[in-house]
Symmetry: C2
Subunit: 293 residues, 2 copies
């Protein structure tokens, strides 16, 4: 274990779902952070780091297959049986640490975790230059996913409800449209990143026959669903969660993905309750907490 002094922590929609009862988590929230190692192995002390959030056993068959993020006995920082980073210090297994490149500042480094989750799409689905992608949702994860798919060379259309948020993508060359003005044409790949359980039917309708729908929203609620369109149109529905940090850190270092424009606010930790309220407002992007301020 390393003890990391937290420089910044990010509020994720999952935190808001956890507050509603998702995973029945009790403990310190927060699974997106950047910080400096204060205690741990000598070679790590003083390093600026980010950390993967799934604490795996490393020994079971799942871990041995390289699926540590799916270790059946894992603890998950700020989500399952492990305290998170909305704190001055957080404990992280050394195996989960990644050094932050010098040119990536503390604000940007917080995005390693959600950006890794966006890159996870490329790990699960073969996205080709000819792949027509529609990203549903212009929240934090939607904006990261749209940029990652665009950088991978795909034909991306981001559909959202907030012109200000879509403008961030427009500035990077990504095509965008307001949901109210969208002339829906079924796409090869649809990424559902609206964060709402009710969006499934619309997402299925936006996916072409034999196409792929990536589900990025973790929501606590069950909902009424008809799977017949999935079968009739032979759609692949791919659940997608955490990803590898390496491509995310490379993209942060190169500037291939704009994350600074996604920062809505930076609050001291003592204002965490207000910060969470702010983060839960529709259209508000990344709220950062600074525990050292």
């Amino acid at each position: 274990m390393a003890i990391v002094r937290v420089s910044r922590a990010g509020v994720c929609n999952t935190d808001l779902e956890l507050l509603k009862g998702y995973m029945r988590f009790r403990g310190v929230l927060g699974h997106e952070f950047s910080g400096t190692v204060e205690d741990g192995p000598p070679e790590w002390r003083g390093r600026r780091v980010v950390g993967e959030i799934n604490f795996a056993c490393g020994r079971c068959p799942t871990c041995q297959q390289g699926l540590r993020r799916h270790c059946p006995t894992r603890r998950v920082m700020g989500i399952l049986d492990a305290d998170g980073a909305f704190a001055e210090r957080v404990a992280v297994p050394v195996a989960n640490l990644h050094t932050v490149p010098d040119t990536v500042d503390d604000d940007a480094a917080v995005f390693a975790e959600p950006l890794a989750a966006a890159f996870e799409i490329l790990e699960q689905v073969h996205v080709q230059p000819a792949t027509q992608c529609v990203v549903l949702g212009d929240g934090k994860l939607g904006l990261l996913a749209a940029q990652v798919l665009f950088q991978a060379g795909a034909d991306v259309l981001a559909v959202g409800k907030h012109a200000d948020n879509l403008r961030i993508l427009g500035a990077r060359g990504v095509a965008t449209v307001l949901a109210t003005e969208w002339k829906q044409a079924p796409a090869d790949l649809v990424v559902e990143a609206t964060g709402t359980a009710g969006a499934f039917a619309a997402a299925i309708a936006a996916t072409r026959p034999r196409g792929t729908l990536v589900l990025k929203s973790t929501v606590a609620d069950a909902t009424q669903l008809n799977l017949a369109p999935v079968v009739i149109n032979e759609i692949s529905v791919v659940g997608s969660r955490c990803g590898s940090f390496a491509p995310a850190l490379r993209a942060l270092q190169s500037g291939a993905v704009d994350v600074h424009s996604l920062i809505a606010a930076r609050e001291p930790l003592r204002n965490a309750a207000d910060a969470l309220r702010l983060a839960s407002r529709p259209g508000v992007l990344k709220v950062l907490l600074d525990p050292q301020q």
Copy 2:
């Protein structure tokens, strides 16, 4: 169009769903048949045939991409805007016809359609010899899917409720277990072929993290579902419908798949109502109709 004199027609679970209101179909049921071409192009007359059920336009972008079974303006025999094969004669586009090999009898040839649907799994998912497969459901489609996966070299376990049905697989060397005695261990690939909407949660639970769940049941009802396990375990849920007839006819010719053991009854068409009632009883396998008897 060719006019086919129907020798045999098969009752499928989809027919029973259609009777309950699925697709709001009005017309002659029946999409599994074997027969002889009575009228049509000279080169087809007198040939023993089976027919693919999706009547495509052949000209739209979807058809041009080779996805004729997903043509957006398709009619579907006995399911959507086209009369089916529970009749003395049925009209089928010539493009949909396949010649039945001499060594495949009329009873077996009826299985070309559902067997093609089982082979569709191999078209959609890369099934490898090391792939651990669980087939849920020992109805008609479950027994065909289990045999197809087994013949492809995979490690197959069929889970069912009817010892008599599972014995058909056992005789071919496929491992089977009664659902009540099954010690569930998450599998790489799960095929949901129980024909019930409520089986989704159990099927997800039977799929390993990053594994694939193939949905084969078309059911009319919406149901209460929680997609969080799909996201958390990053499962791919693959809807699967109709398949190519070519591999099915090859398997019928070689005898690689046993279909004769699946025949529960052979009834004249005038007894169709009784035959449908029989087919709807749990555990009853393929009921054939003979319109010429």
